[in-house]
């Protein structure tokens, strides 16, 4: 049980860094996360159900999302629409979770993932319940920081 939680978390983490590297060219480093209570402008979440139930989260500032999506699409930052920015972050989340799911399925565990959802605002705080199992990390470098969380329900 414990083991699967770790494998799933790693698959998602690898999924996010692989997706960002491939889609934007940004090779980011992974850090253990130390700032759960920092504010972000965009928080995305996707749920996974099956052998284990989990929620995957990525959070990012608006400015950094702009940089990522600009590299992802080849569209200059000042020409990107809000919809393109949110769509780009949603796609990173969706592809990362899809990769995590497929890798776990090759180990013969069946999972379903929900559609990704984004919460957009200004300096939003991300809170979780006490006493749940979770893994939190930060992917950073090249002026981009992304918070990644995996929460077991």
């Amino acid at each position: 049980m414990e083991n699967y939680q770790r494998i799933l978390a790693n698959n998602f983490l690898n999924g996010v860094s692989e997706t960002i590297l491939t889609m934007t060219g940004f090779d980011l480093d992974l850090y253990e996360c130390e700032f759960l209570e920092k504010e972000y402008d965009i928080s995305g979440i996707i749920f996974m159900s099956g052998f284990k139930n989990a929620a995957f989260n990525i959070s990012i500032s608006q400015r950094e999302a702009l940089i990522l999506v600009s590299y992802m699409t080849g569209i200059e930052q000042d020409k990107l629409s809000d919809q393109e920015i949110t769509d780009g972050i949603m796609e990173i989340l969706n592809v990362s979770a899809g990769r995590a799911k497929s890798k776990i399925e090759d180990l013969e565990k069946k999972f379903k993932i929900s559609t990704p959802m984004l919460i957009i605002g200004k300096e939003l705080l991300f809170k979780i319940k006490n006493n749940i199992d979770f893994f939190e990390y930060r992917l950073g470098g090249n002026n981009v920081n992304i918070r990644i969380g995996i929460y077991y329900i």
């Binding site: 949603m90 969706n94 979770a97």
Partner: protein
């Protein structure tokens, strides 16, 4: 050549459009299966390749693939899956259902362009 991208993500369609432009092809875009059928009807099935996402609202890409392969008007149009769905089972299912190629997301522009060319038989020895 005219290609059709069926993907609910606008950003993915833009990326595909950029690749297709390099090859001097036209790209039609559909957000879901309903729009995909509208475009297929509009061009009377004269589409050289469909690039198909798996997880979409409404009919999934896999369901759309099966529907196309049963449709006498559209069954000959080559379809490549373009999806984060990469388990062995999914790949085998899609190829069995008649997909000519399979592109796993995330992909680089090189991989995308190369696979499009493989599908339409350009550059093959």
């Amino acid at each position: 050549m005219r290609l059709l991208s069926v993907d609910d993500s606008m950003v993915v369609r833009k990326i595909i459009k950029a690749a297709v432009a390099v090859l001097d092809f036209d790209l039609e875009e559909a957000e879901n299966s309903i729009e995909a059928f509208e475009i297929l009807d509009k061009f009377n099935g004269v589409i050289d390749l469909v690039l198909l996402d798996w997880n979409m609202p409404g009919l999934s890409g896999y369901e759309l693939l099966n529907a196309l392969k049963k449709d006498i008007k559209y069954r000959e149009i080559p379809v490549m899956m373009v999806t984060a769905e990469s388990s062995k089972e999914s790949i085998v299912n899609a190829i069995e259902a008649g997909a000519v190629n399979y592109m796993v997301k995330p992909f680089t522009m090189e991989e995308l362009i190369k696979k499009i060319m493989e599908c339409i038989g350009k550059g093959e020895a």
